[in-house]
Symmetry: C2
Subunit: 478 residues, 2 copies
């Protein structure tokens, strides 16, 4: 802890930094960050009368999910997981941090974005940067040579957050990968089929899946001793988009097909496209040799799915809304992946390779879009079927007893935690949270052995014998 | 990076440490840790021909979940989440790290177990230690004064791992909390009802829920100027266990009931017990005033659920198995919680209080038990309904086409990624992974417009018209 005079000096300096940024109309994010530092300094000093002043915020680039956001998140996950399961995938989980050296040398330039843990004695650790490297480590550690698995978990990048566009420092990845030595292009085709199915089912509007070929591109772009004429032609190819016909055309170019690696790549491209035709997904897939993926580990086909429409800036939270004065941002890539046949071998002591191909769904961008789509809608955040209520006083015990009976019968039921709540406030709770039914108890109902079941929307009420209540609720909330 | 001579010296020293520990028959965990350090040093030096040697392991105290463990985890979560939803809970999520100062001063002695992130510029961050403090921060930040929410997520403690007993450095917490100003003891009773329901449904054997009262205990234990006679009597009370009668008996002791706080606490104890009777859970609940919870923030009722049986040491992973020579360990506490009325106010700039009560399910211990219970059983890790197969060559395209048709109809289907797999290996895949049906294609079936549907268990085969295949599979895999 710095001494008081030092702290006061630091607070003064930091205050000037904030004032300067404000006068320069710096970005909201930049100002927020400097204000946070100022508040932290003030907190160290202690507030009035020694009362500790907290900086009440989440860490930069991270966010809480409120119940409505969680409901949307669960809906999106459920669609995606159903698809993965339909394709026979298992799931695994790995720790949020790995030995630092496990991540070293896998991400090229981006390694500087890795979060390290403080050295508190023991091992040097880092937060995972993606799910692919931990997956490869898992395969090598457990000597697994084939698996089809999905993994949905958070990853961490010390990136410049752009939260209005769904870019965070803590965010979900949602990966499906097929590891194993198989006949060419069949698993690759299944990955693309999965992207197609998921984007269709999420109903996010039109999309395109763009594919390129790491090997072919390297050959085309890095070929040495190229005549000017050939170089021009290759430039033309790289900017071309197309389907199977493009693969065919490239194969017919002797310059390319004479090169062993390029020929193998082009043959695979053709084969992949024939499988995609069987899977009926070619209407959305194009070869686009200008495509590049940022990571070092890709070795074969690479792909990216892109939404066609431009969507308005996110309106997910008030804080973000204030910062978002762009009229609209392109959502861009919502899925990507490719083949990485060398990564597992980097972890194996004997360098044994396990060929892998996979896809990562850009779930945060999808959340952003879904949040906007539902921003004006009412989204239920509970599944409660019935509220146990009363219009009369002194019936708390009866309400608790009936609620307990319903819970024991598997009914989703709530009761207000008040001795004598007003009927109106009980009905209001239902309206606000979307509970469809109210089970009303009164002296008369207790005497008659019935419960008054009220439909919140229609206001209809009917007396139901207590023994039939569970069935009646189930029937009305199918 | 240290220079080569220094590294070689360090490796030599570390090698001696390992040999010494082995000769002293130190614990496996201790040896593993020192071996890991040795390997890390060797890795820094680089292996033969400059090839990098990886230390292939997960961080100390953490583990991967393999597909079988994930299947068990999902089953446990599904039971618990169903219960939370039955009680009308919403869910939220918070980031895995918080500003360091958010966690400061909440955990007493245990604060030394908090993982800090390295200072890479910007804010000082720590990994969350539990879900309760982030929940309180969330309420204060968003000015929420009432909510019933659950939160299932991983938390981090630099504790001494005892993985054979389900104690990890990264582990799940599974929390249910009710925040808000309500009539006394109703939310508290619901929390206990939830513990009761979950432990019943998980079918882990007999259990007891022990309750104590922070306020009452403080009064009883810290009361000044106590005569020896009264002190003795209080010692007796503290060691007593009982139900409503105990609360009654304590209330009748003038020494206690004359104290305002103790009287209020005892009155609440009585009230709580009456609600627990309405919820029909008193058969498992006892007051046990010797109970203590480790955390600073509890203010009222506290409780803990304990399994009655002793279970054998975990057999979850080979590494753990080797280290587990204890014949059997007590599983002990599998749930705990209590009332913490002051925590949210610690985050509010004006100190506004939001009363809270909650419960945390000890999910890792429950996983351990479930893993042992199923260690000899076959647990399915996929939900695949049918494998599309062929006994003849050159039918890959037909297999892919049919598989795609099934996926499009929502059937969970797999196909082997081989051009010409043997029928036997296709059937073996079904046996190994529990796929119940095989859809077999051959030249004859294609000509006749049928598919041979085979039941893997009974080996029965029947020709199904292709148009009826989806319905037939659905019917047979209900």
């Amino acid at each position: 802890m710095a001494d008081k005079a030092q702290l006061q000096e630091a607070i003064k300096t930091q205050g000037e930094v904030v004032r300067k940024l404000k006068s320069e109309k710096a970005s909201k994010e930049q100002i927020d960050e400097e204000v946070a530092k100022l508040l932290q300094l003030k907190a160290q000093l202690g507030g009035d009368e020694g009362k500790h002043v907290f900086v009440l915020k989440t860490a930069k680039g991270t966010r809480d999910y409120n119940p409505k956001q969680m409901a949307i998140r669960e809906k999106v996950f459920s669609i995606i997981i159903s698809c993965f399961k339909r394709h026979g995938a298992e799931t695994i989980d790995t720790p949020v941090f790995e030995l630092k050296e496990t991540l070293t040398g896998k991400y090229g330039e981006d390694s500087k974005l890795i979060y390290d843990l403080k050295d508190q004695g023991g091992e040097l650790l880092s937060l995972r940067y993606d799910l692919t490297v931990p997956f490869a480590r898992y395969l090598a550690l457990n000597k697994i040579t084939n698996i089809k698995r999905y993994h949905i978990a958070k990853v961490y990048r010390r990136d410049n957050p752009a939260m209005t566009r769904g870019r965070y420092r803590e965010f979900y990845q949602c990966d499906f990968d097929i590891a194993g030595q198989y006949d060419a292009m069949i698993p690759d085709a299944e990955c693309l089929k999965i992207v197609y199915e998921i984007l269709n089912e999420l109903d996010l509007g039109d999309f395109r899946i763009k594919m390129a070929w790491e090997d072919v591109k390297k050959e085309m772009v890095n070929e040495k001793g190229l005549s000017e004429d050939v170089a021009d032609r290759i430039g033309e190819y790289v900017s071309m988009q197309g389907g199977q016909d493009l693969a065919e055309r490239l194969l017919q170019d002797p310059k390319l097909s004479q090169n062993k690696q390029a020929f193998a790549g082009l043959t695979d491209m053709k084969l992949l496209f024939s499988y995609l035709e069987l899977f009926q997904v070619t209407d959305k897939v194009v070869f686009d040799l200008s495509l590049a993926r940022g990571l070092d580990y890709y070795t074969g086909v690479i792909y990216e799915a892109i939404l066609s429409q431009t969507i308005p800036a996110s309106v997910s939270t008030p804080a973000e809304q204030n910062g978002a004065d762009e009229a609209g941002v392109s959502v861009g890539s919502v899925a990507g992946g490719g083949r990485y046949d060398g990564l597992v071998g980097m972890f194996d002591p004997k360098g044994r390779k396990v060929p892998c191909v996979g896809v990562s769904i850009g779930i945060e961008r999808i959340f952003s879009i879904m949040e906007q789509k539902t921003s004006s809608e009412k989204v239920r955040t509970t599944e409660t079927q019935v509220l146990v209520a009363s219009a009369q006083k002194n019936l708390l015990e009866e309400r608790l007893k009936l609620t307990s009976e319903l819970w024991n019968a598997g009914i989703k039921a709530e009761v207000l935690y008040k001795k004598n709540p007003k009927l109106l406030s009980q009905l209001q709770h239902c309206e606000e949270t979307g509970i469809p039914l109210v089970a009303i108890l009164g002296e008369q109902e207790l005497k008659d052995g019935v419960v008054k079941l009220r439909n919140v929307a229609s206001r209809e009420e009917v007396d139901v014998p207590r023994a039939d209540l569970v069935d009646e609720i189930k029937k009305r909330t199918l």
